[in-house]
């Protein structure tokens, strides 16, 4: 059978390049060009709007609730409010971020909470599933902890909408500069306060270690001087040492945000929250980064841009990013595939669709298609996959977000700049496993107001029994070929397998059927794809 049209291969591919198949989706793809044609469509999301998703996002009402201020500055609030901040530019969000106007913290955090809600809806409903998966990947890669402060929380819509999303299938060098000049990153890695004289090294260090070359290229314990690093004499050092970090930090001095700070006695920056470059704070003298001499007194921002050119174009960056993309999409990182992806990365360095090209290479590789059942579903993906498989029209709620966090994935809230790693052990701890099971049961039983799970037509037309229910659920969950799972659920249930559960479509019957759906989805085979 052709691997690209084999239903079980497509099902696993959709669960890694997306959030899992909807009922009927696998056969539909097999009949319309197979998986390669699906990938090609997914790589061009901008060609076709997603009006269904737009309508769903417009229909979301996310609760906001807080008490009145003690001094009467604001009244109590409890309302179901639309998602109004998702596309707001930075300057429109800044009044929530800067803490100057009086309002409850829930209003300041509202921008973040809206993006989290939208992320859940998009995972379940977006037709551009690959874009959603890659948006998650890049948010992890360029991690910002939006739970660190209310100020950061207020900046997330701009970071998501204007910084990450435009580039998820685009060009890495462009993305890197958009991130470097983003309000969220300038705040999170404190470059906004970096000044000539004693530069702040935070951003410079993570730029090398996390965003570009990677820790494998950190050679500090092998070489003390820049010229000792192999290749440095020719301007092509194999890796970097602390001296490169120090110099890069100098290059980014003066990259800051318009936060009203005083530049000198007379001049103050405006208060928009947007990026700006302050020449007076920049260290203009000559520098040396990765074996490359920087002339003194370069044009505004030229030093920082030259650092971005150097790190984005370094072979170690191609390898680091290719390795991470392969790991995320495939679930392991076969050496040959990483090498091929890194070669494509370098070949397409100037292409506007560099990342899409690398993604295509990975997704169409035999390694991707041959891998099945080896990658653990992350908690968000587990919830989304269950909703997609059962047809649950997911209502995003705070309770659900908390349940996903309880499995080890606090969305947009990973505390360290590494971003949430791909290591699966973090989701396999005692409480994380307990959280996974509770996540599925809670969705099925609507503990958090996420909506009712509709039972399959077959169970609504004839009086269902545990046996017919298990059979009917295994199909959409992609477990139709696993009757052993059905048997394990049936015996564990303890309900007589062939006794009618209740009248079709009655509330009690539906509740029992939904519970059976969750129990089937708790199987180890649904946890990995």
């Amino acid at each position: 059978m052709n691997t690209a049209t084999d239903p079980s291969i497509i099902a696993s591919a959709l669960a890694r390049a997306g959030f899992g198949a909807r009922p009927g989706e696998v056969t539909g793809i097999a009949a319309s060009g197979g998986f390669p044609a699906w990938v090609e469509r997914q790589l061009h999301p901008a060609d076709d709007p997603d009006s269904d998703l737009d309508a769903r996002l417009a229909a979301v009402r996310l609760r906001i609730r807080y008490g009145a201020a003690k001094d009467g500055a604001w009244g109590a609030m409890d309302e179901m409010r639309p998602l109004a901040l998702l596309e707001r530019p930075m300057e429109a969000l800044w009044p929530l971020a800067d803490g100057k106007s009086k309002m409850d913290g829930a209003e300041r955090r509202r921008p973040r909470d809206e993006v989290i809600a939208a992320t859940l809806v998009r995972a379940v409903h977006s037709r551009w599933q690959l874009r959603e998966v890659l948006a998650g990947f890049w948010h992890d890669h360029f991690n910002v902890d939006f739970f660190q402060s209310d100020t950061l929380a207020a900046t997330l819509p701009a970071y998501d909408h204007a910084v990450i999303r435009p580039h998820v299938l685009g060009n890495f060098r462009q993305m890197l500069e958009t991130v470097a000049t983003s309000t969220a990153m300038l705040l999170y890695l404190s470059n906004r306060s970096s000044r000539a004289g004693a530069a702040n090294e935070n951003y410079g260090r993570e730029l090398f270690e996390l965003h570009t070359l990677g820790r494998d290229a950190y050679l500090n314990d092998r070489y003390d001087r820049w010229r000792d690093v192999p290749g440095a004499g020719e301007g092509r050092p194999q890796g970097y040492i602390d001296q490169d970090v120090y110099e890069a930090a100098r290059a980014f001095t003066g990259w800051t945000i318009e936060d009203g700070a005083g530049v000198d006695g007379k001049r103050k920056l405006p208060e928009t929250g947007r990026f700006t470059y302050v020449e007076a704070w920049h260290d203009g003298y000559q520098k040396r980064v990765l074996g490359t001499e920087f002339s003194p007194f370069a044009a505004p921002m030229a030093d920082g841009r030259q650092v971005l050119d150097l790190v984005a174009g370094h072979p170690a960056t191609a390898r680091h990013l290719a390795g991470k993309l392969v790991q995320r999409l495939v679930g392991r990182h076969p050496e040959k595939l990483v090498e091929a992806a890194a070669a494509e990365w370098r070949k397409s360095a100037a292409a506007p669709d560099q990342i899409a090209r690398v993604a295509r290479l990975i997704l169409l590789s035999p390694d991707f298609l041959a891998t099945k059942g080896e990658r653990l579903r992350r908690p968000l993906a587990l919830a989304a996959a269950f909703a997609r498989a059962t047809g649950l029209d997911l209502v995003p709620t705070e309770g659900l977000v908390g349940a996903i966090a309880g499995c080890g994935q606090r969305l947009f809230g990973w505390p360290t700049p590494t971003g949430q790693p791909d290591e699966e052990s973090q989701f396999l701890g005692t409480q994380a496993m307990r959280g996974r099971w509770a996540l599925l049961l809670g969705l099925a039983e609507n503990w958090w107001g996420t909506g009712a799970v509709p039972s399959p037509v077959a169970l609504r037309t004839t009086p269902p029994t545990p046996r017919t229910a298990v059979t009917a659920w295994l199909e959409p969950l992609g477990l139709a070929e696993r009757p052993d799972i059905g048997a394990a659920v049936l015996t564990g249930l303890g309900w007589p397998p062939d006794q009618v559960l209740g009248p079709p479509a009655a509330p009690d019957t539906e509740r029992r059927l939904a519970r059976i759906a969750a129990l089937c989805a708790m199987a180890p085979a649904f946890q990995s794809v």
């Binding site: 005692t430 099971w437 049961l441 249930l493």
Partner: protein, 414 residues
């Protein structure tokens, strides 16, 4: 239905849990002392040891640091350590730590850390968790150092716990290590016995990492859950600390410390535990942020000590961080990644009240790469002495590959 449940439980090796009186978990019987316990508290992010315990009268220090990034007269005097004349001062936000120090239960080891130069959080943490000191050994050292100490436990015995979302790297490769962020309202799977029974059926026969994790989780959850105190209605009774122990000021450390204290008292067989306190990566605006974290650390450890009157002599708490921070501050009123850091050791058998370890000094030629406090005590020296105390023998060579202990610090009473 009962029979099916029982069979499923037996397949998981949990049968005895359902049968009163047959538990293999009772450690605290007569003549069966609870084990020695090693607790690791990681200060994640690189704690500025020079701001926690400052050489307050060192002229090089005074010249390099803004006054709000060092401890002065307002700090607690800890004496001079190994260098006569140095006035080491503990941060003023740490009165509980000073009390423990004064009572001789807490030792301070300054200029401690990784012997090889590394200023990356993630590489440094990785090396410390694996018990090594050079990056080339990272690829050769698959497991964590606590794993290599032979800390494994049979199923159902809760020997190694990370109080958090994921087992700490010291337990890498140790299947029986648990990650428990809280004990909440009981630990059985949500949904009652029906769900537990289906899970047992689903996970017992399956292969792979998820199935193993599920089986381990079911066994551990049952083992701990049955020891949680419950009221007449079967509800889990919230944890109540002993004596005057008050965790209220310990911030995000309060819950993990109470989970630890509760696990210790439940006598589930705990031999090793890890906890984290983050927030030390103070590149910017350090004074207020640092003070807050110091206050949480101090009051948290003070509360834990109060809470464990019966377990102090069998407990050793080691506090450490991946590195210290730069001697000179940056213009963001913060400090960047440095080298030599600080470690604290707390316990009933600790010979505390002393600042230990050679002091490298802060003159330019004494600094690591001319910028940072050098490392004069390898972190493995501390851990070797701690393990010798808790395990009653020197750790075997593979625990800390390539490390040979130097003159002992003398951390414990003999």
């Amino acid at each position: 239905m009962m029979n099916l449940n029982r069979r499923a439980l037996l397949r998981l090796g949990l049968g005895s849990l359902a049968l009163p009186g047959l538990s293999r978990l009772a450690f605290a019987g007569p003549g069966n002392e609870p084990p020695q316990l090693l607790v690791l508290l990681h200060l994640r992010g690189g704690c500025d040891g020079l701001n926690l315990v400052s050489p307050s009268n060192d002229p090089d220090f005074l010249a390099a640091r803004a006054s709000d990034l060092r401890v002065g007269e307002d700090g607690f005097a800890l004496g001079s350590g190994a260098t006569a004349g140095t006035d080491f001062r503990l941060h003023a936000a740490a009165p509980a730590l000073f009390e423990l120090y004064g009572a001789g239960h807490l030792a301070v080891i300054h200029a401690a850390g990784l012997s090889a130069g590394n200023r990356s959080h993630f590489v440094a943490i990785d090396m410390i968790e694996r018990g090594i000191a050079d990056t080339t050994a990272l690829l050769k050292t698959e497991t964590g150092w606590l794993t290599r100490c032979g800390r494994g436990a049979p199923a159902g015995v809760v020997g190694c716990v990370s109080v958090g979302a994921t087992p700490s790297g010291e337990f890498r490769g140790l299947g029986s290590a648990l990650a428990l962020p809280d004990l909440g309202g009981g630990l059985l799977p949500a949904g009652g016995p029906q769900v537990a029974s289906v899970l047992a059926n689903l996970y017992a026969p399956a292969a792979g990492a998820v199935a193993t994790a599920g089986r381990d989780a079911l066994a551990a959850l049952a083992a701990i859950d049955r020891r949680l105190p419950r009221d007449a209605a079967g509800k889990v009774v919230p944890y109540a600390p002993e004596g005057n122990a008050n965790y209220a000021a310990a911030g995000e450390l309060a819950r993990p410390l109470q989970v630890l204290a509760q696990l210790i008292k439940m006598e589930v067989g705990l031999t090793s535990a890890t906890l984290d306190l983050g927030g030390w990566d103070t590149h910017e605006g350090q004074p207020g942020r640092f003070r807050n974290q110091v206050a949480k650390l101090s009051s948290g450890l003070g509360a834990l000590w109060e809470d464990l009157p019966g377990s102090r002599d069998r407990t050793v708490v080691v506090v450490m961080s991946e590195f210290g921070r730069r001697l000179r501050s940056n213009k963001s009123n913060g400090t960047d990644h440095g080298r030599g850091g600080i470690a604290l050791v707390l316990g009933g058998r600790v010979r505390g009240g002393r600042v230990l370890g050679p002091w490298p000094g802060l003159a330019t030629e004494q600094l690591d790469e001319h910028v940072d406090l050098a490392v004069s005590t390898d972190y493995r020296q501390i851990l070797t002495e701690v393990l010798t105390e808790t395990d009653g023998r020197t750790p075997a060579a593979p625990v800390f590959p390539g490390f040979s202990p130097s003159a002992p610090l003398g951390l414990f009473r003999t």
